[in-house]
């Protein structure tokens, strides 16, 4: 006989679910046409090569099919998405210069406070454009560049941007990479010179306020040989009754012996289609660490990919997904080993409840050249009721006999014995289950800076808060 179970309420998103009116905003008409793409290009004063890239990407977008293996994206109609929305304000480098309404938005989300307390620099994007960007003086003095990508396109690093932009994720990679190439706007450029270790993290926060709009920011990070960086990405949006779209692109270059940690707490609203692409290439002895928390979105397709190109390079992916009512989160990771003695470790947890769908999807490929490489994949899934769904779809493709690959996966529900034990120690059933789920997510929270771990645990606690039924 099945044990009684806790009824779990949906997440309280009031913290994120506030919206500003679209007044004082420049908004291109909905849809995706060559005219719109050229208007964006004009708006951003693109160099010729970028305008060409946009037009080629648009052509590819019209040629490439939608993926047929993931969650349905039938509810997304690009003809009803505004691909470019900009507030009538210029980017500022101090919060006082940011318009009151936007500043108030980021104050509510805690961004300026976090900057003062625990960050080396912050970029804040509101709809299609950055509205604030700043980096601490002592970090800038070390030669670290943290700017909006449009400024970088015209400055000292213009050549570097041209060399790297959409080279890791080319527009022909998949349909949403092509879409991104056509209409990208905003995002950050980070350059960490050789040997420089940035002790405290940089953060970009993306807020999509406009109804029925898309956000297509591009993040390009270059961590030179022997350098070290932790970059944090946060995102949220108010909920509307029409589809919103996020198709960002993140390209990371990790030099020899360098380390980059890329952390994401994704909390988009439940009308969001999150079709994001992230990819890193790691040189000899370098290390990429992904920490990923997926809590929001209506539909997510998200599989950060690492290319372990250099010998002895490493990758670690730690992720958690929490899908509730109306959510279908298809997440995971990809890794390609081409260098010798490379190693990868993928460790994920997922929780499904209230009809939510979590899919863990991964791909590990070890090429013939990657002798001595090792890979380990571990995923655990919790089902909190029988109207939800949890799928695990891990693929492994091994092309050398000098490799060692392991995979473990488990699916189940909260153990009755564990709940009984905690209740015998005086906890209510609700608290016992919330504690178990927090412990289940511990692998991710312990990898985040304290402030972000607290935010993530708050999200889980809110999610688990409910009545016994």
């Amino acid at each position: 006989m099945m044990a009684d179970k806790t009824y779990v309420e949906d997440i309280d998103r009031s913290l994120y679910d506030f919206r500003n009116e679209d007044k004082d905003a420049y908004r291109l008409e909905d849809g995706l046409t060559e005219e719109i793409v050229l208007q964006i290009s004009e708006e951003k004063n693109d160099p010729d090569w970028m305008r060409q890239l946009r037009l080629e990407s648009l052509k590819l977008y019209n040629e490439i099919d939608f993926p047929n293996w993931g969650p349905s994206i039938e509810g997304l109609d690009i003809d009803h998405i505004a691909t470019y929305v900009r507030k009538n304000t210029k980017m500022a480098d101090n919060w006082d210069a940011v318009p009151e309404e936007i500043k108030d938005t980021f104050e509510k989300l805690g961004i300026p406070q976090a900057e003062r307390k625990s960050l080396a620099g912050v970029g804040a994007q509101y709809d299609s454009e950055l509205v604030y960007h700043n980096v601490k003086e002592d970090v800038a003095r070390q030669g670290v560049v943290y700017s909006d990508i449009e400024s970088a396109l015209r400055g000292e690093y213009a050549g570097l941007i041209k060399e790297k932009f959409m080279k890791l994720i080319p527009p022909n990679d998949h349909k949403f990479a092509a879409l991104h190439g056509a209409v990208w706007s905003g995002g950050s450029f980070v350059y960490v010179p050789k040997g420089v270790k940035v002790d405290i993290p940089l953060q970009s926060y993306f807020r999509l306020n406009a109804k029925g709009a898309g956000q297509f920011e591009h993040t390009l990070i270059i961590v030179e040989d022997g350098a070290d960086l932790h970059f944090i990405e946060g995102c949220s949006a108010p909920k509307y009754n029409v589809a919103n779209l996020h198709a960002g692109c993140v390209e990371l270059y990790v030099g020899k012996g360098a380390r980059l940690r890329y952390s994401t707490i994704e909390n988009w609203s439940k009308n969001m289609y999150n079709l994001n692409s992230k990819r890193a290439v790691v040189e000899e002895g370098g290390r990429i660490e992904w920490v990923s928390g997926s809590f929001g979105s209506h539909i997510s397709y998200l599989y950060p990919m690492s290319i372990l190109k250099g010998d002895n390079s490493q990758m670690e992916f730690t992720g958690i997904s929490f899908a509730g009512t109306g959510q279908n989160l298809d997440t995971g990771a990809k890794v390609v080993h081409t260098g010798k003695n490379t190693s990868s470790y993928i460790n994920t947890k997922s929780i499904s409840k209230g009809g939510g769908v979590c899919t863990f999807r991964s791909s590990v490929r070890i090429d013939r050249t990657a002798e001595g490489s090792k890979s380990s994949v571990s995923c655990e899934s919790l089902m909190l009721d029988s109207i939800s769904r949890s799928d695990t779809i891990p693929a492994m493709d091994i092309r050398t006999n000098k490799a060692d690959v392991g995979h473990e996966a488990q699916i189940g529900r909260i153990s009755d014995e564990a709940v009984f034990y905690l209740m015998s120690r005086g906890l209510s059933e609700e608290d016992a289950k919330a504690l178990i789920v927090s412990g289940f997510a511990d692998n991710v929270s312990k990898e985040l800076p304290l402030e972000y771990a607290i935010e993530m645990n708050n999200l889980i606690r809110l999610e688990m808060k409910g009545s016994i039924g």
């Binding site: 047929n68 089902m383 695990t392 693929a395 493709d397 091994i398 092309r399 006999n401 060692d404 996966a409």
Partner: protein, 292 residues
């Protein structure tokens, strides 16, 4: 063209794992009906359809030895009545590099037990597709496979167990070794459907990669729409354990012989589980011919 080995839930198209297309036009099959113990030998190419119907509360064993040249397209449809049991042993013991297209689908009734043992010792090209629907409460499926694929051999497998009944149990265990330019694909799915409360599923795969030119692809799935279940899968893929090799060498056993012993070990437990001496000796004969 036969389209088979389809994943119940597809994945990235570029991996080319979602299904397999086999260039073969099936003809009208010879139909073989079975409801009692049987030992079948397939020594000719062609199309076969084996219908196995096990009445309530009966237990039977059916062995199938494949020893043929050319292409053999064998389809086995199984229906297990309440409280019945069926053990199927399938072994491809062809000495020629024939092509086996082996498809099995079964429906398992209340408290019925389906046990399938498959052995593929160095046998050309094998496509193996197996689906078991655990329709009845307390039903079970126990699927074991051992293989060695060498030369230019292709082994393309797909095992799917659908849990519909309550308290149903499944186990999929596959282990094998790859040598030369072998190309092997393993798909395994345990699918807990809504209503299959109290069910358990376990899926394991162990692969030993003996030579540089081998390609191993594995995709073990768990799909779940039921809360009250326990599912697990695991895979271990790598070269021969150096400690085992060292131990065997220290006992005067050459590396080649050591590899052969490890391969024999993978089949040994299944041969014992099968308990069919004549089929077992044919498998042993195939294994002895393996060149390292």
């Amino acid at each position: 063209m036969i389209r088979m080995n389809k994943l119940p839930a597809g994945t990235f198209n570029h991996l080319r794992l979602n299904e397999t297309e086999v260039d073969y036009e099936p003809g009208r099959p010879e139909i073989i009906e079975i409801s009692d113990n049987a030992e079948l030998e397939f020594d000719k190419e062609g199309d076969k359809q084996i219908l196995i119907n096990v009445p309530d509360n009966r237990n039977i064993t059916v062995s199938m030895a494949y020893d043929f040249e050319g292409t053999l397209n064998a389809r086995t449809d199984i229906n297990l009545g309440k409280g019945s049991g069926l053990k199927i042993i399938q072994a491809n013991v062809s000495e020629s590099s024939g092509r086996l297209i082996n498809r099995v689908s079964g429906k398992v009734g209340d408290r019925a037990e389906l046990e399938i043992i498959q052995m593929f010792p160095d046998s050309g090209i094998v496509y193996s597709d197996l689906t078991a629907d655990l329709a009845g409460d307390g039903s079970s499926a126990d699927i074991s496979c051992a293989y060695f694929t060498g030369g230019d051999g292709i082994l393309d497998m797909n095992y799917v167990v659908n849990h519909y009944g309550r308290m149903s149990n499944s186990r999929i265990h596959a282990s094998g070794a790859l040598a030369d330019k072998a190309y092997k694909t393993f798909r395994g799915t345990i699918d807990f459907k809504t209503g299959s409360s109290g069910s358990k599923g376990d899926e394991r795969e162990k692969v030993i990669l003996l030579d540089e030119g081998v390609i191993n692809r594995s995709i073990p799935l768990i799909l779940c729409t039921e809360e009250d279940v326990e599912g697990a899968h695991g895979a271990a893929i790598g070269s021969l354990d150096e400690d085992i090799m060292f131990y065997l060498k220290s006992r005067g056993i050459s590396p080649e012989e050591a590899k052969r012993l490890v391969i024999f070990g993978m089949f040994e437990s299944l041969l014992m589980q099968a308990g069919n001496e004549s089929l077992g000796s044919k498998v042993q004969k195939c294994l002895q011919k393996i060149r390292m």
